[in-house]
Symmetry: C2
Subunit: 238 residues, 2 copies
């Protein structure tokens, strides 16, 4: 359904966020056109979309590459994330109702389970999800979209630097933040949010050595198969 170029940009985005496409990887128009079996123009449009979101960098007459954020940009990403979440924290402390706080606690409980199961993958995703849920409770769609865009960029950093998070500690901080806010201790909560993001940044070890290179086709294939069920059936009819 909907736009072809939009679907392709979405597929590429998933591959980038899942770290199957590594920052710096060249995204050749011709190559992608063959992989997706579409014209180059659709690929170009998809790349323009991704470039506008900052996930891809287009260099004139040279091509598109998965964006490689500098350390400076990495700091800006977390600084901005902190600013947004501190702002939302202030709003929630004033406006959030009981059911809202409960949603946060439920989410934390889910993550706690995952941590106990030693399910790193789930714990990681739920940890990310907490921040998204937190922002969404402000009820501001625009703010939510901006936040989501910045969170996306953090995935580029995860690809670039090996990350060793202390999930248990991060989870505890989530709990503390909710507790502080619900009791109206806004200032302390905001300081903790700041510290929380610094802890996340500290989890990034500057170690660009260990990354597995993958072919473009290899990297995209999983998403391709997942979404190509219908087109494949249609193709079988011909």
């Amino acid at each position: 359904m909907s736009n072809l170029s939009e679907r392709i940009s979405e597929t590429l985005k998933q591959a980038i966020l899942a770290q199957r496409l590594y920052p710096g990887t060249k995204l050749g128009e011709r190559e992608l056109a063959e992989i997706f079996d579409v014209s180059r123009i659709v690929i170009r449009q998809a790349l323009i979309r991704l470039a506008n979101e900052g996930l891809v960098t287009i260099e004139r007459n040279r091509g598109a590459f998965v964006t490689r954020p500098s350390l400076q940009e990495a700091l800006e990403i977390y600084d901005t994330l902190t600013l947004l979440e501190q702002g939302v924290a202030m709003q929630l402390a004033e406006r959030l109702d009981a059911s809202g706080w409960q949603k946060l606690r439920d989410h934390i409980a889910l993550q706690a389970e995952a941590v106990e199961r030693n399910d790193h993958k789930a714990a990681d995703e739920l940890g990310q999800g907490f921040h998204t849920l937190f922002i969404s409770l402000a009820g501001n769609r625009l703010l939510q979209d901006m936040h989501a865009q910045i969170v996306q960029r953090t995935f580029l950093l995860r690809s670039l630097y090996t990350s060793r998070f202390d999930y248990c500690n991060l989870l505890n901080e989530h709990t503390k933040i909710v507790n502080l806010l619900e009791r109206g201790r806004v200032k302390q909560a905001m300081e903790l949010i700041d510290a929380h993001h610094r802890h996340v940044v500290r989890g990034y070890v500057l170690d660009t050595s260990s990354y597995t290179q993958m072919s473009l086709k290899e990297a995209i294939k999983p998403d391709l198969e997942q979404e190509d069920t219908a087109p494949a059936a249609a193709a079988a009819e011909t």
Copy 2:
């Protein structure tokens, strides 16, 4: 220089921000392709760029239109703007040096002159500029870009609703905010920032009757001439 589709999207953006292209106006591919004398594909790419920034809305198989923000979205825009500027206020109160405060005061002085001259246009632009300067002092490029994108959307609102601002009052509030922040009275400053944006919103009178409809070509022409000096000369040679 650089991309054709990027230049065209920039030109269209100027026309939208200058309120020569009114929200709801249809941006037909064929029509624009003739006006700019380029292929439809370049236009499509430009429209995709603008759609990603929220200035244009693309409806499948129907075409692109200048975005018409709902009242809900208008509130979200100013709510988000408030959140960003409050966050930056906190940072500046802690970190800004003397020369930074001076820049803010200088800017306010410029706007004060414009107000005294009764130069509404300049006063308006400088009023906008204050917020941009304010954010830029945080020294966070990403944050600055996000802020700029949201400010752009406020221009859509200015087109949609007739605005009657009390420039003198808004200017005074700018002064007060700077004074409060420099003296470390962060909380009061943040409250004033909130009030300030509410005053701006109040300046929008819901009155969709008085808007001058303009043809697409008419609306774009000024920017076209401005940037087409070189191409025009080249065309004259043929």
